[in-house]
């Protein structure tokens, strides 16, 4: 499949243990990868660059939402870019899922494909995590008028049209809901954005579990969303 018009945007914060492998694996399918180093204290940026990714370095830590916006703006400098993919740095995401999502977005002429871990049974989230994520998606659907099954999945494919219009201002973790909200409200040539969800397999390793955000953070996200 043609992938030289695709950019992978990978927000990077203290992932020195895994980033080189993640980049190398993804490079086999995607020639264009930009890692946005969000002020890591370890060698993440150097390792990502050595593995073959483009690296943009925030001078200070700004948050994952800010890193995504920076990466998207960087990818927009490439005039031949047609699709931006947001991809996690911690090895939770599978390259094959991205390929499937790209095939879908091209075949069905969509603007956005969101990844969802709840469309099939492959992702093994704990019951509590499931409950929190499900509550979050109910809230997001209610407030944004979208119909999704997983609003906090880091894997998304965005067409250039949408990437150009997106303005993520939630620097923290509330950016996931903000992205959904903006896409829900977005108009392309007067018509709503065409989006779909695709099943992805989120691989919870011991590493990602240890690094992943605690459930307490969902409280913070909710407050950030209400007080935007």
């Amino acid at each position: 499949m043609k992938t030289d018009d695709v950019w992978l945007v990978v927000p990077l914060y203290n992932e020195a243990a895994v980033i080189a492998d993640v980049v190398r694996e993804a490079l086999q399918a995607f020639p264009n990868i930009v890692c946005v180093d969000d002020g890591s204290h370890d060698d993440s940026a150097v390792l990502a660059a050595a593995a073959g990714a483009h690296v943009v370095q925030h001078p200070v830590n700004l948050g994952q939402g800010a890193a995504l916006q920076t990466g998207i703006e960087y990818a927009l400098y490439d005039p031949s870019m047609s699709y931006v993919v947001t991809f996690d740095a911690d090895g939770q995401h599978q390259v094959q899922d991205v390929l499937d999502m790209l095939e879908r977005i091209r075949r069905d002429d969509l603007h956005v494909v969101f990844g969802s871990r709840f469309l099939d049974a492959r992702s093994e989230a704990s019951a509590l995590k499931r409950l929190v994520l499900k509550t979050a998606v109910v809230y997001t659907n209610l407030t944004t008028g979208t119909k999704l099954t997983d609003a906090h999945n880091g894997m998304r494919v965005l067409s250039r049209t949408v990437a150009e219009r997106l303005q993520i201002t939630q620097n923290g973790m509330a950016h996931a809901s903000e992205i959904v909200a903006q896409i829900g409200a977005m108009r392309v040539d007067g018509a709503p954005v065409r989006y779909a969800e695709a099943p992805v397999h989120v691989l919870y390793t011991d590493y990602s579990r240890a690094k992943g955000q605690s459930l307490w953070n969902s409280v913070n996200i909710l407050v950030e969303l209400i007080l935007r």
């Binding site: 030289d4 264009n32 483009h54 370095q57 920076t70 960087y74 007080l227």
Partner: protein, 126 residues
């Protein structure tokens, strides 16, 4: 009316704080703030001199004690301070993020051996 030492000290304190806040910050906001502070300072001095003025106002609005009325006022003032401060910090954060992003992008585009949009060569392995 007997002025005690504490009253003198409190009045001086109120005047000193007001003076610090009154000097310094857009025109209309500054003007409103100054008027508000002036009124606040006047009232502060008056309530130091005539402590039961608060109790009388409290009775007028149906609150038992003047101290309770002051407490309610403080709670409202504090919450509005928290909210306006949060909003202002959000604005500051937005600007600061844009600035940092501009820096990061400029630096990356300058130093990238194969900046986005450059024609891929065979060496890229693309």
């Amino acid at each position: 009316m007997k002025i005690i030492l504490l009253q003198v000290f409190l009045i001086v304190l109120v005047l000193a704080i007001s003076w610090r806040l009154l000097t310094g910050g857009g025109q209309r906001i500054q003007a409103v703030r100054r008027l508000g502070l002036g009124a606040f300072a006047t009232f502060a001095v008056l309530s130091i001199l005539f402590p039961n003025v608060w109790t009388r106002i409290a009775h007028l609005v149906g609150v038992g004690r003047g101290t309770d009325l002051i407490l309610y006022g403080l709670v409202i003032a504090f919450f509005s301070f928290v909210v306006t401060t949060y909003r202002r910090l959000r604005q500051v954060e937005l600007r600061y993020t844009r600035l940092a992003r501009r820096l990061a992008l400029d630096e990356a585009l300058r130093d990238d051996p194969r900046p986005p949009g450059s024609v891929p060569t065979d060496a890229d392995g693309a």
